[in-house]
């Protein structure tokens, strides 16, 4: 136990002192803070923008002077009213005096509005905000002539309020939160577990392992290292998720936030369950990675040795991710119990209210038993493979090592 503690302490110190670790964590945190500030950043830039200069020409006074009010409106245009011939208008735009112009004329009963810009590309169209403002202005001028009462006016143009209503509003919020959390969990588990593999390979390829195995048992090395990396990974994940939640609350307006996420769903209970599944999921994958890390002799072989585990973990993740679309289906129930996918799936079912306490306990028991079995096999294979400096061990070799050890 003392040795596991010493190895864990050393692993943690080694990880958090590394420049690459500090920089990557700071970069991720910076991205999160910046990400949640994107609406603010856009609006800052928006405010600083010089308003687009537009020339509005109504030679026939079709709008009956109401266009003057354009300058009092909160729109992104600096409006200049003038009476000019079309050719002159075009000339002014060509000279760069204005960015665009609206040339208003009347043909029979139709009001014709030309939106004039220097060059027309496929993507250009008449700005919809201008269209609606002009239509409203004209309508108001005409309605004013009818001398209607306030009540009559309101009945003609009531305020329309549009909103999107799902049958179960809360569940929709949950799905987005949980899918996000599922992705975060997957990446956290995957990258932390991968670290175990590369850390073991470094010890093997730098030949330090021989000194290490005479100082403590292989079991202590695997467990100390796994726990140390896991603890750092968990703290990193808590730091990232925490920063994201705090940033969301501080920097995003509540309206926008409620459109994207339903923060009220992120409860302490869900936090605890998520952390527990992170720990168990991490242990499952870290121990598998301990085996692959111990089978290679050259750092460049790590990736190819880890390939099958990567496929396995991505497969398990997709199994839970895609079955979330149909959470009441049998496949999602299976994904929540199968030890390789349950860490990504069960927190989701808990939040959806689809999993009972018994389901959670059953899934955890299955996971813990799997971890113990994987640990037993992993430590045995690791103990023998770690001193094999020859070529990369094949799956067949690993089975024979395990069998030999079990004799």
């Amino acid at each position: 136990m003392r040795d596991i503690w010493i190895i864990m302490k050393f692993t943690i110190k080694d990880m958090v002192k590394r420049k690459s670790f500090i920089i990557s964590t700071l970069v991720i945190l910076a991205f999160i803070v910046i990400g949640f500030n994107i609406p603010n950043i856009i609006s800052w830039f928006g405010n600083d923008n010089i308003k687009s200069k537009i020339l509005v020409v109504d030679n026939d006074n079709i709008f009956e002077g109401s266009l003057d009010s354009l300058n009092n409106m909160d729109i992104n245009y600096e409006v200049t009213l003038n009476n000019l011939e079309l050719a002159n208008v075009k000339e002014k735009i060509e000279n760069g005096d204005y960015d665009s112009a609206l040339y208003i004329t009347k043909e029979d009963n139709n009001i014709k509005i030309d939106y004039i810009i220097p060059e027309v590309s496929v993507l250009d169209s008449i700005p919809s905000d201008l269209v609606s403002i002009l239509e409203t202005l004209y309508k108001n001028v005409q309605i004013a002539k009818l001398n209607l009462t306030t009540a009559e006016l309101q009945s003609i143009s009531p305020n329309f309020e549009y909103s999107l209503v799902g049958i179960s509003e809360e569940a929709a919020g949950n799905v987005i939160v949980m899918m996000l959390l599922s992705i975060v969990l997957f990446y956290a588990i995957y990258f932390c577990a991968y670290q175990v593999s590369s850390s073991i390979t470094i010890e093997k390829t730098s030949k330090i392992i021989e000194t290490l195995v005479t100082s403590t048992s292989p079991k202590n090395i695997v467990l100390g290292k796994t726990l140390g990396i896991g603890l750092v990974g968990m703290l990193q994940m808590i730091l990232i998720v925490g920063t994201a939640l705090i940033s969301a609350n501080i920097f995003m307006s509540p309206e926008i936030l409620s459109m994207v996420l339903d923060v009220s769903n992120i409860t302490l209970g869900l936090g605890i369950i998520t952390v527990m599944y992170f720990v168990l999921g991490y242990l499952t994958y870290a121990l598998i990675y301990a085996v692959t890390g111990s089978t290679v002799s050259k750092p460049e072989d790590v990736q190819s040795a880890n390939g099958p585990v990567a496929i396995l973990s991505v497969g398990a993740f997709y199994l839970s991710y895609f079955t979330m679309m149909n959470p009441s289906g049998n496949l999602n129930v299976f994904a929540s119990l199968f030890p390789l996918s349950s860490p990504f799936c069960m927190p989701f079912r808990v939040m959806m209210g689809l999993a009972t306490t018994t389901d959670v306990l059953l899934s955890m028991v299955i996971l813990i038993i799997s971890i113990l079995l994987i640990a037993k096999v992993a430590i045995k294979i690791y103990s023998n493979a770690i001193l094999n400096y020859g070529t990369k061990l094949s799956f067949k070799d690993l089975i024979s090592i395990y069998k030999e050890k079990n004799k």
């Binding site: 080694d14 330090i208 021989e210 000194t211």
Partner: protein, 296 residues
Amino acid sequence: MSLVLKNVSKKFGRKTVVDNLSLTLDKPGVYGLLGTNGAGKTTTIRMLLGIIKKDSGEITWNGEPVDRKKVNFGYLPEERGVYPKVKIIDQLKYFAELKGIASEVAEKQIYKWAKILKVEEYLDMPAEKLSKGNQQKVQFMTAILHDPELVVLDEPFSGLDPVNTDILKHIIIDLVKNGKYIIMSAHQMVTIEEFCSDILILDKGITVLQGNLKEIKNSYPANRVLISTDENIDKYIEKLNLEIENVKNNEYVVKIDNEEIANKLLNLIVKDGININKFEIMKPSLNDIFIEKVGD
């Protein structure tokens, strides 16, 4: 105290790597393990330390099976290794702590040995910034920091320059003076001859020669004579049908079958009034014995 290996064998697959090896180290000193590459030296050492399991035989320290938890041993592996990114002092403390030494005690020991091995200035550097020789000295420190009773050194001098070789030699001599039991494997016969009281030569896992080094050397008859003179003595050598092994700066090394023929040669030369500066009848060196035993 004594270290005993009795009829120890190991097979990898069908290949016997160590066959029925026995040795006893029952007083402080250095026991030399010799052999060509792949002879089974490192496997023997790994079995001795419990890194790999032996197939058969017994390995005991004071009559008890050698176990990491029970025997205080230090080990310098043949495969040198340090954590490249970790500060030297941190890795030394780490290994000392794993050997059960308290952090403060470990620090004192680290500074003491760093001074002796002349690596004090590197203690706060990551290992990757050190030369290979200095990394090796750091690793040697991990083998002795915890004051072990039994020290196992696998090729301790390979890769060291003469200055560092000398430093290490003095430390090994001091360790023996302080009552340590040392098992050392080496390729350089000169170092083995300097330190080892007993030796064991392995060839493809089989023990081809074993015993007290002095006794082994004494058991071999003289096979060469060295004559240093200012004149040419070729004709005397030819007269006795002897073969010159080497001539350098008027120093002749002549192969002989026995000491009598050497004396005969000396008489012939002296009779003609030739001045002789040095005359030495030589026994085979350990190098000669080694080549004779394991050379194809």
